[in-house]
């Protein structure tokens, strides 16, 4: 260990900081942090067919591998797919594809990941869970309100979409989790 202390690298890293450096950074860090936290929202980015969507990470807390869906006679339809086992609990599995009216679109070939896995996402509003299959999950993205552009009004299911956020070469439609949840609840009542 002694030997290493004398190497050039450690000398460089352990050198005293220039005058005023700590103060300056201290100020920067203490300010910027607060401002940023207020503005940024985090969404989980996923793909349904050929469209990318984002849903607030506050409402979508979990992504799991795809699991077997068991249809329910007299109940299963295009929105309600069946029941699915998520960590030992049976949850309702619904089709966001159908709700958003994109079930007939082509599956996308342009992808953000190197390998594509089908997943299931859990929409969790007020302790009530709906599961929905997604064709691909990319990850979590942070965006500020300034980045959001308005939803084109010609969009079919615009009531479910809060706005569009550009990300790399794609556009992410930010979903209104509460509106989706409400309509799913209505579907079951």
């Amino acid at each position: 260990m002694k030997k290493e202390d004398e190497t050039g690298a450690s000398r460089l890293l352990n050198r005293p900081s220039p005058e005023g450096y700590l103060e300056q950074w201290g100020e920067v860090l203490s300010q910027a942090k607060e401002a940023e936290q207020q503005d940024l929202s985090s969404v989980l980015i996923f793909r349904l067919k050929n469209e990318w969507f984002g849903i607030s990470t506050k409402k979508c807390k979990e992504i799991t591998e795809s699991r077997t869906i068991h249809t329910v006679p007299n109940r299963t339809d295009n929105i309600f797919l069946g029941i699915v086992n998520i960590r030992g609990e049976l949850q309702l599995c619904t089709s966001l594809h159908s709700l958003l009216g994109i079930e007939d679109k082509e599956d996308f070939e342009k992808t953000l990941n190197t390998r594509v896995y089908k997943r299931m996402a859990l929409l969790d509003v007020k302790e009530n869970i709906f599961v929905f299959p997604v064709d691909e999950v990319f990850g979590v993205h942070y965006y500020s309100d300034q980045e959001v552009t308005e939803t084109p009004s010609n969009l079919d299911k615009s009531k479910y979409i809060l706005g569009i956020v550009p990300y790399r070469e794609i556009h992410i439609a930010i979903l209104n989790a509460d509106a989706i949840y409400q309509d799913l609840e209505i579907h079951f009542s």
Partner: protein, 749 residues
């Protein structure tokens, strides 16, 4: 006493008092019946002493005083200075009741004061021997039996400690979560085995590679100037051998680990499930005392026996059992067992016997509550039924014994003339019926005049685990509870006989109609390759068996029942869901519901294509008016059907609200006539359901019920029924008049 620490302390105190009060009650009861048993008195002393100690800690003076006096009583009795009998035991029971007030936090905060001084006086009197007229009468015999208890007070204490440890309170929600997790861990560990098998395959591949290398080594050795290549190959072989050995030992480790993990998760799973079971005795702790007090109050002499105390029962069910059992027992004491004099006149022993027997039979919990009292007078019952206008005199003559007894389970039905405090005011046994139906059980009454009455209660053992036959229907698994499955068969397609277009098989001399499971469940079937064997599940009773054809039988499984998400509502033909060993969901079939669906399907009625043609416009005008009659009594159903058919209406029937709702959703009815009290879904619920569905808003509904009270009438009409009639209306024309007013005459061609 307001800070949180005191609060928890008080809660603990409540729990402790609860335990000791139970011991006191049990002890005092057994002391009353066998006064010579010295060990009983010891346990009584200890319990009183413990309460005293605990009360001192939380500073509740009144409890300290009473417990202290009680302890003194027991101690003096043990020394044979006083004898505890009759009235003094009553007073001690009263003192226990006083103590049991302190099992709730509310009472602790506002302790009742009135009885305190009175109780203290009485207990002091007992102590001063004024109270024991029969004092010292039987001293010699009791002294003798007292000796063993003095010798070994230890075992008694041990068992008591055990009792205290044996219960912990866990919220049922967390228990359910635990069960889910235990099941999931079982599934996850099972996935390790295929993984380790894949490693073995990998090892074999390596071995093959090594063999190839060995051959390469030989081939190279034959070449000239090969020494360098040979030594390289030798090195590779050495290395791969080391790697192979390493791999083998890792696989061994993994296998040992898998065995262990499998065993553990299996044990955990069983244990979690078992934790839901409690001995039957836990649900009936209050009964011996209740029977004693009541019989005393009524001047009757009754021996109360419990057989099968240790029968395990699911805690959910145990909880729900208390109310119906209580009701039946009170009935037996009040109406069943005769007064001692009357019994002697009849040549029966003076003391009556009430016996509760609990046992498991064929996957069900069986309870029998039997008394040797006067039984039920069927003639009087028949008269009462007619008097209450529940049926006509002629009809009542034809009712069988069982049918007559079923009237006892109707709401508001009581044959007892005078209202007594003991078994309620006109509240009949319908409470028993409703409570049992809530937990999937049913009740039957057997009676013989002057010999007694027996209530047979049949219940599911648990609401959490069910042994089922799992079958594949349309490539998805469905579970059939074994308790309701006759048996399963593999049949050759050539064994199917077709009679009038309906497929049958012959099995044990009877023709069994075949129904496709997918059809009965209304699943759209994807095309299935034709096979020459059929998998058949036999359902239904002997008089009407059905063969349900499934794609495939997967075998028997113990399934942990999960209720279906409430957002789905009641799903036709489905009861609940569960998880298979591979973690996949499976739906559990509601057999009763399914049999009903099959019935309707086979009657060529309302399912499938028929529905579409009925819905088509234009046809409605030409067809006859169709009425759905809903009643759980076959007599009423058939009476109504006959009356209506005579007037030219088409009539379908349903046995309860659920059945009716299934039919209504499928069919097209001009009028619905329903009873109120029915299993599974009652009339009010049915009417409400119909009215809240936009398709049936306008369908007229008539309620026909035994209930003739104003409240029921108003409730029925408020829920949305057009008419509320009583069952007496069959005799006059009012029933048919109402029907005609609502939908016109039957023949509308």
């Amino acid at each position: 006493m307001s800070n949180p620490e005191d609060q928890t302390l008080l809660e603990l105190f409540c729990e402790e008092v609860k335990t000791h009060v139970q011991t006191l009650n049990e002890g005092l009861l057994s002391l009353e019946s066998t006064p010579e048993n010295g060990s009983t008195i010891e346990s009584l002393m200890r319990a009183a002493h413990s309460i005293k100690g605990a009360a001192r800690v939380v500073n509740i003076e009144s409890v300290v005083e009473i417990a202290h006096l009680m302890e003194d009583c027991f101690e003096t009795a043990k020394r044979k200075e006083i004898k505890l009998t009759g009235e003094s035991i009553d007073s001690l029971f009263k003192s226990i009741d006083y103590l049991s007030l302190f099992t709730s936090l509310e009472n602790i905060k506002n302790p009742p004061t009135e009885e305190l001084s009175e109780l203290k006086n009485i207990l002091t009197k007992i102590l001063s021997k004024d109270f024991s007229p029969q004092k010292n009468k039987e001293v010699p015999s009791s002294e003798k039996k007292n000796i063993p208890s003095l010798k070994d007070p230890l075992p008694e204490k041990k068992s008591q400690e055990k009792k205290a440890i044996s219960t912990v309170r866990v919220s049922s929600g967390s228990l359910n979560k635990l069960m889910g997790l235990a099941a999931e861990s079982l599934v996850e560990t099972k996935r390790l085995t295929p993984f380790s098998e894949s490693l073995v395959t990998l090892k074999k591949d390596y071995q093959k590679q090594d063999e190839k290398l060995a051959r390469a080594q030989e081939a190279v050795a034959a070449l000239p100037k090969s020494s360098r290549a040979l030594s390289l190959i030798g090195e590779i072989r050495n290395r791969s051998e080391v790697a192979l050995l390493n791999l083998s030992s890792k696989i061994d480790h993994l296998e040992a680990f898998i065995r262990h993990a499998n065993m553990l998760s299996d044990q955990m799973y069983r244990e979690v499930i078992a934790s839901r079971m409690r001995p039957f005795s836990e649900g009936i702790q209050g009964f011996p005392r209740m029977v004693r007090d009541l019989s005393k109050q009524l001047g009757k002499k009754i021996d109360f026996e419990i057989i099968g105390e240790n029968t395990p029962v699911d805690r959910d069910i145990l909880e729900k059992l208390e109310a119906p059992l209580n009701h039946i027992l009170r009935n037996a004491i009040d109406h069943g067992i005769e007064k001692p004099k009357e019994r002697l006149q009849k040549g029966k022993p003076e003391k009556g016997i009430i016996k509760i027997t609990a046992s498991h039979r064929a996957g069900m919990l069986l309870l029998e509550i039997n008394d040797d009292g006067k039984g039920i007078n069927l003639k009087k019952l028949r008269d009462a039924i007619v008097e209450k206008k529940l049926t006509s005199k002629e009809l009542s003559e034809n009712l069988s014994e069982n049918e007559l007894l079923e009237f006892l389970l109707l709401p508001g039905f009581s044959t007892h003339k005078e209202v007594t405090e003991i078994s309620g005011r006109g509240v009949g046994l319908d409470v028993v019926q409703t409570k049992l139906q809530e937990i999937g059980g049913f009740v039957r009454i057997k009676t013989k005049e002057n010999e007694g009455t027996t209530f047979h209660l049949q219940l599911p053992l648990t609401r959490s685990v069910i042994r089922s036959m799992v079958a594949e229907i349309n490539k998805e698994p469905y579970a059939f509870p074994l308790s309701r499955v006759g048996r399963t068969l593999k049949m050759k397609t050539e064994d199917i006989i077709t009679i009038e277009g309906s497929p049958f098989i012959k099995y044990q001399e009877s023709n069994i109609g075949l129904v496709s499971a997918a059809n009965a469940l209304e699943i759209e079937k994807s095309s299935q390759p034709q096979t020459d064997t059929l998998s058949v599940i036999l359902l239904g009773d002997k008089s009407k068996p059905y063969g349900l054809v499934v794609d495939n039988l997967l075998g028997e499984y113990d399934l942990v029942i999960r209720p279906l998400d409430s957002r789905l509502g009641k799903v036709p033909n489905i009861n609940a869901a569960a998880l298979l060993e591979n973690g996949k969901p499976v739906l559990i079939i509601d057999i009763d519901d399914l049999i009903q669906s099959i019935n309707t399907l086979l009657e060529g009625g309302r399912l499938g294509k028929a529905v579409h043609s009925k819905k088509a416009k234009g046809i409605k005008l030409k067809r006859r008016k169709t009425i759905l009659v809903v009643d759980d009594s076959i007599t009423v159903r058939e009476t109504e059907k006959k009356l209506l058919k005579n007037k030219g209406y088409e009539v379908d029937t349903a046995v309860d609200g659920m059945d009716a709702w299934n039919a209504i959703s499928m069919g097209n009815y001009d009028l619905i006539i329903t009873d109120i009290d029915m299993p599974r879904m009652n009339g009010f619920e049915l009417v409400y359901k119909i009215r809240s569905d936009s398709r049936f808003e306008a369908t007229p509904i008539i309620i026909v019920s035994y209930k003739d009270r104003k409240e029921d009438r108003i409730k029925g009409l408020n829920t949305g029924a057009n008419y509320y009639l009583t069952k007496t209306s069959f005799q006059d024309e009012s029933f048919l008049e109402a029907v005609e007013e609502l939908i016109g005459k039957g023949f509308s061609l």
